[in-house]
């Protein structure tokens, strides 16, 4: 518990970043994020973009699962709806990205509203299966509605451009992706403190009790689904301009599972945990790859064992994290922070 952190005005009580130290660190992080593309190479920049897009999508799922307690196995499908919406508007109608991405988000929101409707009646594992069917149905639509989605070959999209300035390199896309992601993270942080955010949490903790104190269950659950798929849709739209091609193979069940893993590893209901989870799930395999590269230098014939071993190590890491910290990476981080805020005066 921090001492001496008094709130003397309403504004300071409402501030998102509450202590000078937090504000300073956020400033440092922002500066680092802006400078990053000028020092990082192609490879790191690509990974950074990937992390930012996936984190945005995963945040959507965290709002649904972590905040509201509604499980979904169809998150990749919503990302796909947003991506296809954006790609169709951009490639067929030539709309600029600042229309096509929000439109893709809106489309995904609509899809989320429909898929979320059964959530009033069914819960838990049953809801998981219902959303799984949404995943399968949307995947089928992406593959077979050839006249719109381009079928198995998908759609190619020209780079985003604004006033003649083409966002055709990873570096330029980085700033678009970063700014959209940051804005949406701030929105989510504020959402949690709003009436709706508190209603989400109330529904998660005990839906009957929430209804008794006046939370409209149906509206709240549907809204959670809509917000969640909106985030996925926006992530899908960014994805389209990032990869410049969209095919059904990009939005399969495995991606839904990956989102689920990100949210669980990062920390359910934690906004910064979503970021940690995405970084963990994306970068640790790459770090292990670098590790096998080093090992290969000493033991060249072992690649056929080392490469598959990497997946085993990755799986073990996830299990170990969950055993030692079921609240995810966010909680580990909090513990480290607490330790250092008193260090070295704590026994």
């Amino acid at each position: 518990m921090l001492i001496g952190n008094y709130k003397e005005t309403y504004a300071s009580d409402e501030a998102l970043f509450r202590t000078p130290a937090t504000r300073a660190w956020m400033g440092v992080a922002a500066a680092a994020a802006v400078l990053f593309p000028f020092v990082a190479g192609d490879y790191l920049l690509y990974l950074a973009n990937l992390v930012a897009v996936l984190a945005l999508g995963a945040l959507g799922l965290n709002i649904l699962i972590g905040f509201t307690g509604q499980i979904s196995l169809g998150h990749a499908a919503f990302m796909g709806v947003g991506a296809y919406g954006t790609a169709v508007l951009a490639s067929r109608f030539g709309l600029p990205f600042w229309i096509s991405i929000p439109a893709g988000g809106a489309l995904a929101t609509g899809a989320g509203m429909v898929v979320g409707a059964p959530s009033l009646r069914i819960k838990g594992l049953y809801l998981a299966i219902a959303t799984l069917s949404a995943q399968v149905i949307f995947e089928w639509v992406f593959t077979n509605w050839t006249s719109v989605t381009g079928g198995i070959r998908g759609l190619n999209v020209a780079p985003a451009s604004i006033a003649g300035f083409r966002l055709d390199t990873d570096e330029r896309m980085y700033f678009l992706i970063l700014s959209v992601t940051v804005v949406h993270f701030l929105l989510a942080s504020n959402l949690r403190r709003s009436r709706w955010g508190r209603a989400f949490v109330a529904v998660r903790d005990r839906d009957v009790a929430a209804e008794i104190v006046g939370v409209n269950l149906f509206r709240t659950k549907i809204l959670a689904f809509m917000v969640s798929s909106y985030y996925a849709g926006i992530a899908g739209g960014l994805w389209v301009y990032f990869t410049k091609v969209v095919t059904p193979e990009n939005f399969q069940l495995s991606l839904s599972i990956q989102f689920l893993a990100i949210v669980i590893v990062g920390g359910l209901g934690s906004i910064k945990g979503t970021v940690y989870g995405t970084i963990f799930m994306t970068l640790v395999p790459e770090m292990l790859k670098a590790g096998t590269g080093v090992a290969r230098a000493f033991w060249p014939d072992a690649q056929s064992y080392l490469f598959p071993l990497r997946d085993v190590v990755f799986g073990l890491l996830i299990v170990v994290f969950l055993i030692f910290e079921p609240h995810g990476l966010a909680e580990i981080w909090n513990r480290i922070k607490r330790f250092f805020s008193l260090w070295p005066f704590k026994k």
Binding site: G41, Y43, P159, T243, T247, P285, E286
Partner: protein, 392 residues
């Protein structure tokens, strides 16, 4: 004075550090590869990687391109497009190769915009998708063999040549994937041109195992031939067994991925009569100098290896094309760059690969030639059922 000495020393040190790399660029040709060594394509990725690596080593040993050494750098990309793109960018940034190899159709499509505008390296992949065989949209890519459409063309040509008194009846049996659907529109057109009736098109999930209703459909339409596309083993094995139980006389055909020896091992006696198209000769074939060289290299490098799968030969042949392209660029006295290598592809005409494939002519950045092989269950091998057939 002191400063200028220090600066001179610095310049000297920097030039010392850089000069090996600068010199290396002249006589070393770096080939990078993102191989699906793990993931669901690993069954082929490991062998493709070994084949490509072995051929480049072989070229170095034999000095196939005078004054040039090939340096092969590879990473695992796990058959995941995101990881593969990351791998591609990492290798490009770290090693700046002039030639790259990629794991999938997905990577080919995802990397295309940057390959065309920034990287400009010669690119081949494990994919036989006709989408990548388009010099207009993919000027730096080539298919190291025929596309799936070409493979269907070879099979249909074979059926047309061996028909009886009536019009042959064919069924297409394919999976609901990019891999399964790729050649189908072309195959329909080609069948009509050759006077072949397509009596059924059956679509399933990849790797489906419950095929009862599909087999009933085959029984109803009774085709002379069924061509599978988009599967490895399952459900080919189940379908063949089930139709045998029904007493159908239908003959079954596959394309590259379902033409490895493994399918004969799995089918056992039921393999007799199974046939399909192979772009390359098999490892155990005699009488082809190109294959004999491969066997000799393997005997030396991997003494305990008795058989190499068809994806190994795919990797080996891709290496042959890379080396041939470099050889032609060097012979023309041009620098070895991606642009020059891609330009030289179109000059490859009636190229003798020593029997590893038929004579190769690159048209639209693909080598549209293949041969029909038939399984011999007793010996457990595929045997040639036709000569090399050129796709139209």
């Amino acid at each position: 004075m002191k400063h200028s000495i220090r600066r001179l020393a610095l310049v000297f040190a920097v030039s010392l550090g850089l000069s090996p790399a600068a010199r290396a660029a002249d006589d070393v040709v770096t080939v990078g590869a993102c191989q699906p060594i793990t993931g669901r394509f690993a069954f082929a990725g490991v062998a493709i990687n070994a084949g490509l690596q072995d051929y480049l080593n072989y070229a170095n040993e034999k000095g196939l391109v005078p004054g040039k050494k090939f340096n092969y750098v590879y990473e695992d990309s796990g058959y995941d497009t995101d990881r593969a793109v990351a791998c591609f960018k990492q290798i490009m940034a770290k090693h700046s190769p002039v030639i790259m190899y990629g794991e999938s159709t997905g990577l080919g499509k995802a990397i295309a915009p940057e390959l065309n505008s920034r990287y400009k390296v010669l690119y081949a992949s494990a994919s036989f998708s006709s989408e990548l065989a388009d010099p207009k949209s993919h000027p730096f890519s080539f298919i190291s063999g025929p596309t799936y459409s070409d493979m269907f063309s070879v099979l249909l040509e074979y059926i047309a040549r061996n028909k009886g008194a009536t019009r042959p009846k064919v069924a297409f049996f394919y999976s609901d994937t990019e891999f399964g659907k790729d050649p189908i529109p072309y195959a329909r057109k080609r069948a009509a041109e050759l006077g072949i009736d397509v009596v059924a098109e059956i679509v399933t999930k990849a790797g489906a195992v419950d095929v009862t209703s599909e087999v009933l459909q085959l029984k109803k339409t009774n085709p002379d031939y069924v061509i599978f596309q988009g599967y490895i083993f399952s459900p080919i094995i189940e379908v063949i067994r089930a139709t045998k139980d029904f007493g159908l006389k239908t003959r079954f055909m596959g394309t590259f991925w379902s033409m490895d020896k493994g399918i004969i091992d799995k089918l056992g006696q039921d393999a007799d009569g199974y046939m399909g198209v192979m772009p390359y000769a098999y490892y155990y074939e005699d009488g082809a100098p190109g294959i004999a060289a491969m066997q000799a290299y393997n005997k030396k490098a991997h003494p305990d290896v008795k058989y190499q799968p068809n994806s190994y030969i795919q990797g080996w042949f891709t290496g042959m094309v890379y080396v041939e392209a470099v050889k032609r660029v060097v012979a023309a006295g041009k620098p070895v760059t991606g642009e020059n290598l891609a330009a030289v592809l179109d000059t490859i005409k009636d190229w003798d690969t020593g029997g590893v494939t038929g004579k190769v002519t690159f048209v639209n950045h693909k080598a549209g030639v293949g041969r029909v092989y038939k399984a011999n269950a007793a010996k457990g091998v595929f045997e040639p059922a036709s000569d090399w057939i050129y796709a139209k």
